[in-house]
Structures are given as C-alpha cells and as structure tokens.
Subunit: 385 residues, 3 copies
Amino acid sequence: MIKSHPGNYFEDFRLGQVITHATPRTVTAGDVSLYTALYGSRFAVQSSDHFARAIGYRDAPVDDLLVFNIVFGKTVPDISLNAVANLGYANCRFLAPVYPGDTLSAKSEIIGLNENSNRKTGVVYVRSTGFNAAGTGDTLSAKSEIIGLNENSNRKTGVVYVRSTGFNAAGTAVLEYVRWVMVRKRDEGAPPRGKDVPSLPKLVAPDDIGAACPPLRGAAYDHALAGSAQGFGDYAPGERIDHVDGMTVEEAEHQLATRLYQNTARVHFDQFIQGKGRFGRRLIYGGHVISLARALSFNGLANAFHIAGINGGRHVAPLFAGDTVFAWSEVIERAELPDRTDVGALRLRLVAAKNRPCADFPDKSGEDYDPAVILDLDYWALIPR
Amino acid sequence: MIKSHPGNYFEDFRLGQVITHATPRTVTAGDVSLYTALYGSRFAVQSSDHFARAIGYRDAPVDDLLVFNIVFGKTVPDISLNAVANLGYANCRFLAPVYPGDTLSAKSEIIGLNENSNRKTGVVYVRSTGFNAAGTGDTLSAKSEIIGLNENSNRKTGVVYVRSTGFNAAGTAVLEYVRWVMVRKRDEGAPPRGKDVPSLPKLVAPDDIGAACPPLRGAAYDHALAGSAQGFGDYAPGERIDHVDGMTVEEAEHQLATRLYQNTARVHFDQFIQGKGRFGRRLIYGGHVISLARALSFNGLANAFHIAGINGGRHVAPLFAGDTVFAWSEVIERAELPDRTDVGALRLRLVAAKNRPCADFPDKSGEDYDPAVILDLDYWALIPR
Amino acid sequence: MIKSHPGNYFEDFRLGQVITHATPRTVTAGDVSLYTALYGSRFAVQSSDHFARAIGYRDAPVDDLLVFNIVFGKTVPDISLNAVANLGYANCRFLAPVYPGDTLSAKSEIIGLNENSNRKTGVVYVRSTGFNAAGTGDTLSAKSEIIGLNENSNRKTGVVYVRSTGFNAAGTAVLEYVRWVMVRKRDEGAPPRGKDVPSLPKLVAPDDIGAACPPLRGAAYDHALAGSAQGFGDYAPGERIDHVDGMTVEEAEHQLATRLYQNTARVHFDQFIQGKGRFGRRLIYGGHVISLARALSFNGLANAFHIAGINGGRHVAPLFAGDTVFAWSEVIERAELPDRTDVGALRLRLVAAKNRPCADFPDKSGEDYDPAVILDLDYWALIPR
C-alpha cells in the first residue's frame, strides 16, 4: 500500500467533492510574533491587546493574512501539490475574528473543473481578465508568464476551481474564498472531461464584509497610537499612495513563513529539484508576497486596519530570494457598510513590484504589466469613520 | 580567577559524576511556533489543542524532538563543548508529556570513560556497529568520517558516556537518554585512565515506551484531520516508505534552531573559526537534521504521532547550509504495549540523505553507506490501533 | 494629501516637542522565544518562570534589551528615519520589570538641537569623547567613520537629542533613555537655528538603577542552575573577561530581529537602495549587535542577570551579514545599591569586535580603536551579593 501522498492530479477531482484538510492548527501568540518578525507589520489593532480591547475587540485579533495563509496552507496537500500555477482568487471574505488560542481547520469544495484539452504546459502563458479576474473560462491566453511551473512538463493540465473555508474549533467559519489552479493530469491519455466553470462575483459586496469586525467604540480609537490621523473621509477614489519602503527577501525568511503556515508546496523548499527546473530557484510563496506588500502599505494606510474581503488577485510574476519588494496602493472606491457608522470600507488596489521603487506607480497598460510588477491585489479594507 | 568557561576536557570527567546543567527553560507557545516554522511539522496531536484534548491530552503536547533538543542543549556546555564527534545515542525514552508553560532542566551522570590512548584525532574515522550501535568499546575503527571535527587537532581524545535526564519543574523526569561523545584531552601527557565502557541496551523494550502518552480515546481520533487513514495494522515489517519531499537548509535556519535550544556548540555558529577548519563551513547541529527528517516523515507516517523512544542513532555524514534533505523510513517491527489497546508501537528506521531523492531508498551495504546518507535513526513511534 | 510618511527632517523638530509614537505592542512569550532563537541568551532569570518566581519575580521578566529594542523601534519612524548616524546613548534606566502580556508604548521629548551649520555629510567622521560620551557639542570631529550613512548626501545635517520613555499599559514608565542622532535637513538653504545642547550625565548613579529588580530571596538563587558560582564579590575593577564564543550573523537573522522590534529604518532592509550606496550592503541595526554581545557575555557573567542602566554607548563601526561577532568585558567598578543587600551593581564595559577573537581584548588607544571593534558599551548590571 502506498503510504506517502504524491498529491492529487486533475483526474482525482470531481465536481461537488468536499475535502476535509489535515492538521488542525491552534494559532498562538508565538505565531503572531513570528508574523511580526517576518513582515514588520505595525497596525495597532493587531499589535496591542490594550488598543484592541479599548475599541471593542476581545483581544488583539490575529492578522487577517496570517489567518488566510494558515487556511491556505491546509489546502495545499490536497489541492495544489501538483499545481502548475495558482491562477487567481475571488470572493474572499473574513467572517469572524481569530484570536490566539483558536484552532483553525479547513474544508474545500470543488466547484469547477475545466480541462485544457489540447494545451500542454511546456511554456504556458497566463492572462487574467483583470486584477479582479473572476475566473471565467477565458482566463488562459498568451501574455505574461505563469509563476508556479516547476518543470517543463509536457503533460496536459486542467483548471480546478475550489471554494475553501476555514473554521475555528466551535465550527464557526472564519474565512471563505475561491481560488483556481492549473493542475497536471496524471495520465495524458485519459478521456477528456467537460467544462464546469463556475460563475464568480467580480466584487465582494460591501454588505458582505463587516462580519469579522466587532462594533467599534470610535472615541477610543487613538489616532496617535495608530500612526495616522487619516480616516475614511480622507481617502478619495483615484488617489495613489507610494508606500516608500523596500524590503529584501531572504531564502530563510520565506521558508520559515511558508512552513509556519504548514504549506507543503515543494517549489518553495527544494533547491535540489528547483535548481534543475525552469527558474533554477525556489519560488517564493505568493502569500508571502501579499503579506509583505500589506505590511509595507501601513505607511500610507495606517488606519485601514482590517482586510475584510479580497475581490480578486493575481501573482503577475514570480519573486525570488534577494529581490527587494516595493508597493503602492490605489483607492478604487469608498463604501459605507449597512448599519455601521463606526467603520467604512476602502476598496484598494495593492500593487507590488520587485527591485523598483514605486514613486511613479508601475502599472499595466492594457494587459501588459510593467515588468517589475509581481502582485496586483484588489481588496476591501475597513477604516474608522 | 577565570570567569568564562572553555568547556570540559576528557580529564575533567570522572565516573559516577553528576552534573546539574545550567539555564532552566520554560517552554512556551512561542517555542512551538518557531519549531513549526523551522521544520513545518504537521502531526495533528502536536499542532492542535482541540485535537489533542479530544483524544485525552491536557493540551497539544510539545513535539518530542523539541523536548529532546532543549534537554540536549543544556548538556552541551558541560559535556560536549570540546567534543570532536557525537558518536551515538542509546536507550532514549520519553517519560512524561511536556506542555507549554513547563520548565525544563537537565542533569547528567557520567557512566563511562574510555581513553583512546594511542590515537590522535587528525583525521579520525568512525564506525558504528550498526544504526543501533550500543556503544561498546569497538565503536571506533576505520570506515566513515566523523562529523564534529572542527580542527586538525593532534591532541589525544577519549570517549565519554553520559546519561542525561530532563525534568519538569515538579521534578518529574520527562526524558532520559545516553549519548557518547569523543572529547579532547587537555593535556596529551596526562597519565592514561582505565576503560569503563557501560553496557547499553541495543533496543528500548516496548514495556518502557508508553509513559509520555496518556490513555487515548481512540474513537475521538479523527483520521481525516490527522491526514491519513492508516494505523497500526497497516504497516508491515520490511515495508519502506519514501517521504517524497525535500527541504533545503539555510544558515539562518539552523542557527535560529540551535540557539532556540540554547545549544552553544561553537561549530554551529562561528564561521570565522570554522572557515579555517577542515570543512570550511559551519556544521549543522545533528538534532536539526533529526527534526527535519521527522517532519518530512509525516508524509507516509501521519498517524505515528509520538516518538516514544530512540533505540540508537547515528549521524553518518555532516550536513551544510545549502544542502537539501530527503528522507525515507523502514518498518522494522510492530509491537503491542502492555495493557494498552489504544496505541501500538512501530519500530522505524528513519534514514535521511542530502541532495538525493529517496525513491530508491539509499542505504548501506555492510558498513558502507550510500555517500548521500547523513542520518540513520532507529526509534519507536506510537500509532493508534 | 500626502499619506505616506517620509520621516522627519532636522527642521521638523522643535525644542520641547513631545511625540507620541505609533503602534503600541503587546509583548508575548512568542517574542521571548524569538529573542532566544536570535541570540541564544541563557540567563536563568529570563529563561525560566520557575527560577524567576523562586527568587521573587512574578514570572520570568522579558529580557531588558528586548524591551529596549521594542521601545527604540517605536521611535524610529518619528526620530531617525532620515538619520545619517545614531551618535550615542546616555542616562538609560530600566524602571520596572516587563512581563509577557504587557503592552508597551513610547513617547519622546526633543531635549536638544544642534545644527551642523557648515558641515556636509559626504564622508563624515565621528568621534565620541569616550565610551560614555555625554553628548556635548564636540562629539563630532575627525577619527572614525560614522555608521548609519546610507547615501553620499551633500545636504546639511543637525543633531537631535531625544529623551524616549517606554510605558506599560498601566502608564508606568519601564524604560527611559537619551539618544542623539545626526539627521538630514530637508532644505539646505533653511536659516540656521541655535545650538541647544543638553547637559547629560556621564554616568547613571547607582541610586537610580534598581527599580526594575524586585527584592530577591537570595537563598533561593540556585547558582548551579544559573551557570556560575561567581557573584558580586568575585569581580574586581580592572578585570577583563574574554567571552570566548563567536556568532556569525545572517541577513535573515538581523532582518527578523529588526522587524520583530517594528523598527522601520530602511538601511536594514532594502538591498536595492543600499546596494547603490556607500557600503553596498544592508547595515545591521545597532541594537542587534548589543543583544548579540550581551548574549555572548553570559560566558563569564552568568549571574549578572539584569541590565539596570546604560551609561553610554557607541557603535564604533558597522556590522554586515557574514561577519562573526566576538566580545569581551571589563569590570569598571562595583557599587552597592542603597538599602539593598540582595544585589549589587557591576559597572561593565562590553566591547564587541568582528571577525577577531577577543582573547587579547582589542581596545582603543587614545581615540583610535582597534579596527575590529564595533561596539563599546558602558552599563550597569545587577548581580546577587
């Protein structure tokens, strides 16, 4: 009997399949400290129990992206161990705060399968229909390079659409998101399967994003301690913010992070195999890039303390150790939340670039990105009104 | 008066001497998080308080090897600061679970001394009588290279046999093991001392290995969350398991780990001195290799959640930063524990190799190891029945 | 409106200005574990709750330098983001113990401003009037190189003197210190400002240094567990101690540390910009050097468990990744504390060197330091009597 699990292939998934992922994880103050050491995040709500309690949280909540990365990590052995590329995210919502001591577990449902019947992966080019690509069937065509390819495989692939949910020990959902990944087929000669491409929202509705933020006592929110006087009304759609600072990434750092999330994707850890592959390098986990860019964004968005939802996101190009990450943000829109006068939502586009300061906002022109851009993320942040 | 301690030499030890080691250490959730970040371990019992409590633990216990490494670290300043090589382990038993908040301390007793009267260390070749080498007097002869040599010393050496015990703050022993190390003599002209080589068991008896595992409520053990359906009855003696994944080690990682264990052995930290030595490199602490290999072994042994005893072990060759570690296991035997129907024991051989995937199980032929092999460990793991 | 903060320039400070720094921080067991992993510190009081409680602490207190580094980190975005050099420290006192769970915040008062009216920074040479340089106006002249320069700026600079205080959530001051930094002017043509150079003590008085140490039950202090039998009476003024061990620093390590302290100074993180600068390298945060040297000093000062005050200190030369740090100490004087028979104070000079063992105590001759010296710190340590 085979004991070690080589990961699932495209043929192993069926529409409607529900997978309970292994290794529940108690999140602790130790994880929070490591997260701080890895990214240098400075949002007061997540950094100080005293600050968080004053405004209405039970304690300082665990950083939203630490929760995301832990839940994501659980899905990897079942979903994306044989992935060629992580194509996109949609409809990500944070549903309840997570505190140290909470135990997280995860389940996933297969909500779509789309075979790339006559396309081989050798060199695959991937295009997103936009930074909030909603995962329609046309997400694959020629433009920019995929980023998860770890060998020049000639095997056929398919796209798997997955809705993953993270739960605390009480069974309350704390996070839900959809991602779609390009997965290898085990057997190239296997008969083709149909196309089941789910319809996904291009945007998480403002009605759906406040659940993980308790009602805040706005008067207790100390803007000096938070690091900025600027609130909801100070940000205008179209405004661009350069986050100024750059952060160089080391191999030890992204490996520590990715293992902290118990993410087992081999491409991040195994230089022996990666050294023979296309890039000759270990790929840095995309969630590490998102966390880094978010931490940099404190400088300009100090009060946008909570990621309430992610509308879409795309890893435009790979990041490698030794590269320096810079970031900028654009305010896309401003939304009120139903029945809430304490906080409002900013829809933000967070763009990260490598080895290129962002004072002039490197961007895309049509479908062509500035070659330095590595991440284009569209999310909702809550900010006091 | 000399204030800083240069470490003990062979002449400083006497048979029957008991040493109380310095720096008691409260183990915390922070240590557990770092351990996860360093190795990516995924055993559910150690990862989730909720899972552990459901089956009968007070909380998620601290990983057995984190306990081992912390206790081992305390012994280094007194036992092995002037060691040329760490030759072997025997009769290692985990005696009580350790939880975050417990304070660990350690004592050692010198149980054997064996002078290498006419042998100098220049280039020393070390042979173990087998992976469960029991420390008899013939453990030194010509075959494979020793791994702890940090200078081409011409000074004579001796082998020191030590039984070390770790305690919690209540004075309960949590771990006991024997190791033997080759230690330099301070004065080559010192008169020779006798040979006192202890008799050591080649195997920890199954009767002796269940103490650190409370009675389990087997029905509450969730195999989906644990990551595998395979239990005691599914593993057969002779079976070999490739653990598939590879993990590249960085200097910062093994240094962080070794300092976390408050292990002060200079060979792991001081590139200035090591750069002038035999390897030109910092040596990676052997306990780091064991922890890495054990974490990799989850993929194939997901339910073998507890290391209950270590029969013997050997660091066959050194590991350096930049190397990628792979591992495979062999089931040696299967044993029932007296009066326990909840768990059984698998005697496993865990072999780690560097820069060589283990699909074909690199091994030894007679006394000659495949040159990629770095670790050969013989241990008992508990697994639900 | 500009959202991201580029840091203050010399013109932005006014005498008497009080700044509330951002991002309060709850210190946890996770931070303590990371601190251990980063430096390998082995002082029993900070390592073991059981040991600390036995002698009179509520729990194991957080390492003094972890507190210092966290408080220091909070001041960086407001005080030293545009600093050319961190010139010195004075009158640093630890005022109350800090335990995991405490939330730290910081305020600073500008207590001096001194424009360097006709000096440009291109290559600036810095001299301290001694290791306990008290910040008089003559601290700048030609001798050794400054260490924080991150570009060959031709802009004028000024020296800003700041008294920073760290508080716990109850509003109790836990730490107070003065530092002075050379900061760039935004506008070279701005009219000169006066000289306001504060008078600073060259020495923290022994009357002022016991506040963070509760009355100790000396009989409960276990010297075997602490790692040394040597107490207050065993150290004599003039005595020098080589701390023997060397520690090589990796980029990932100092970045993890500096982010753990939420210190945002760009010179430590941004290789893209630093690579084009004077050194071509990221500079290692000075507090990382102090913490490393202090951890090495355990070997020789195992019972000097508490840094009660820092009289002065100077970063003599920069440290870069790949360098190996060694350290030695000199006992300057021994002082009794008023009304305390439990502990006495040792005034110690802690000198760190890079890539040079310290058996022969590399030092300074007049104002010229041995080229290997990187740190010269003058502090008070408490030690049982």
